[in-house]
Amino acid sequence: MGIFRSLLRQPTAVFGLVVVIVVVALALAAPLIAPFSPDEQMFDGLTLEGAPMPPGGPFLLGTDTLGRDLLSRMLFGARTSLIIGLVANGVAVAIGLFIGIVAGYLRGLAGNILMRFTDLMMAFPALLLAIVLAALLKPSLWIVAMVIALVNWVQVARIVYTETRGLVERDFIMAERSLGAGHGRILFLHILPHLVPTAIVWGTLGIATTVLLEATLSFLGIGVQPPEPSWGNIIFESQSYFQAAPWLVFFPGLVILLTALAFNLVGDALRDILDPTQRGRG
């Protein structure tokens, strides 16, 4: 629990942690606390001219262009964003860990090929690649998550690779090897545990990137498809209306910002705590 206590000592990290907990709680409780169904087009959800209702009254944050309650859509949208954030980033970290460890441990030709491949992926314009993939595949929640995972593992792989190379040189690995330990034992019992801090830090920071990427893809209309709500596609759907109804951009935009900010703050604080050489520099 030492890590947790250190986190609580930093005001920004506490702020981040609180926001994360609130967003997760709201997402989990969405069916219980949402005032309306996210998909219901309300009879009184539009003005007489057919425009969205501004915030206030029964619709706390107003309604969207189809007369649906914005708050309810955002609550259910939180589920979409968090699921994609966790799944896509989890897969990205797993791929990055695997490639980084194997390349760092093997070195030689196989390791070299893996790292050259990673270099190659670094030269890919990530957002462009994600946009191309998402647009040409039939986008759905899981496809979007996979697309994001495929472009986001590279950085983790590079960091894990560098750390593994350092670990392999250390005496305790040498000792283990001379005692006759197999590769599997060394990798899983001795190298992997040392990479847990890196995985935790990137597992947190990466969620911020993922949430932003999902929102961007959905905003372009190639992410999560309406009527399933996501913070990005709420903005996408109201795009042509946003000058008359800026709250349809502002509120979802604000929660995207707050969520990404919160994960970034917690991740950065974790990095400080878990890697003392970085302390006070970031």
Binding site: D119, A123, F124, V132, F219, Q239, L257, A260, G282
Partner: protein, 305 residues
């Protein structure tokens, strides 16, 4: 040095071929059928087949890739399916707009980043430092398209800046601000951390002991040494920009290669998608290369090691 450069050039070349290969395979394997897109929904199977044949899409993957690659080596990016024009011509026509936007965005980023990063480092631990760090976090966590949309509303309501388009200085302000203000967060953080390192060095203490003014210490002695990470950062940023412009160009109607790519993606115009991806990859590779080449001139320690 010359050898290093040659090696890096060869590496960059191989990376570009690799990017071409991967993109090609991905686009080949995707379910979207460009021949059907061109023929339209009501076309007969025969029409679709003849278009497919005309474009060479009925040939095996390896043959297609070889045709593309040999064209590429001659500087030929192929023809757009939808616009029937050379991809190269289309990209060259769009490039100035994107480069203008990129240059403007990077200038904003670097100026803001260095200014606030330095202030934060000098006032380390104080209220200003905390504010700058918090703001930089907000910057890197803010969704670009939301900021772009809100600035757009702002422009329309106040009428200070033109809503969209291209051509004058006023047009570039909002898109460049969107890219630059948000991106400045990374720069501020890097400059701050590099400055803190430098300010703890012995020679800075010596300078202080000699009685130099803190302004002189910061600007003449510390800042030049803290600037190196910024150069590397710009190299990486050029690549980031090439991907990021798709969104900003879409919101502001900026006629750059991002917009070109976005239109091409919707029409499954594979030659343009390939061309833009390769141009972006070229920008990323060149950016990194330039950063590596410049680094030893800024920091002589790199030259000797």
């Amino acid at each position: 040095m010359a050898f290093m450069l040659l090696r890096r050039l060869a590496q960059a070349f191989l990376i570009l071929i690799g990017v071409a290969a991967i993109t090609f395979v991905l686009l080949y394997a995707l379910p979207a059928d460009p021949a059907r897109m061109i023929a339209g929904r009501s076309a007969t199977a025969q029409t679709v087949a003849s278009i497919r044949h005309e474009l060479g899409l009925d040939q095996p993957l390896l043959v297609q890739f070889w045709t593309y690659l040999s064209g590429l080596l001659r500087g030929d990016l192929g023809r757009s399916y939808a616009q029937k024009t050379e991809v190269w011509t289309l990209i060259v026509a769009r490039l100035p707009a994107t480069l203008t936007l990129m240059a403007a965005g990077i200038v904003v980023e670097v100026i803001l980043g260095i200014t606030f990063g330095t202030i934060a480092a000098v006032k380390r631990g104080g209220m200003i430092d905390r504010l700058v760090m918090m703001a930089s976090f907000v910057g890197v966590s803010a969704p670009q398209f939301v900021v772009a949309l809100l600035l757009y509303v702002f422009a329309v309501t106040l009428g200070w800046f033109p809503m969209s388009g291209y051509g004058s200085f006023a047009h570039v302000v909002l898109p460049a601000a969107t890219l630059g203000v948000l991106g400045a967060g990374w720069y501020a953080r890097m400059v701050r951390s590099a400055m803190i390192d430098v300010l703890n060095q012995d020679y800075v203490r010596t300078a202080r002991a000699k009685g130099l003014s803190s302004r002189r210490i910061i600007f003449r002695h510390a800042l030049p040494n803290a600037i190196l990470p910024i150069v590397a950062m710009i190299g990486i940023d050029i690549g980031q920009f090439m991907g990021g412009v798709v969104v900003v160009e879409a919101v502001y109607g900026w006629p750059g290669i991002g917009q070109l790519a976005w239109q091409a993606i919707q029409q499954v115009d594979i030659p343009i998608i390939m061309g833009v991806t390769l141009t972006s990859a070229l920008a990323i590779v060149t950016g990194n290369l330039i950063a590596d080449v410049i680094a030893p001139f800024i920091d002589p320690r790199i030259r000797t090691s």
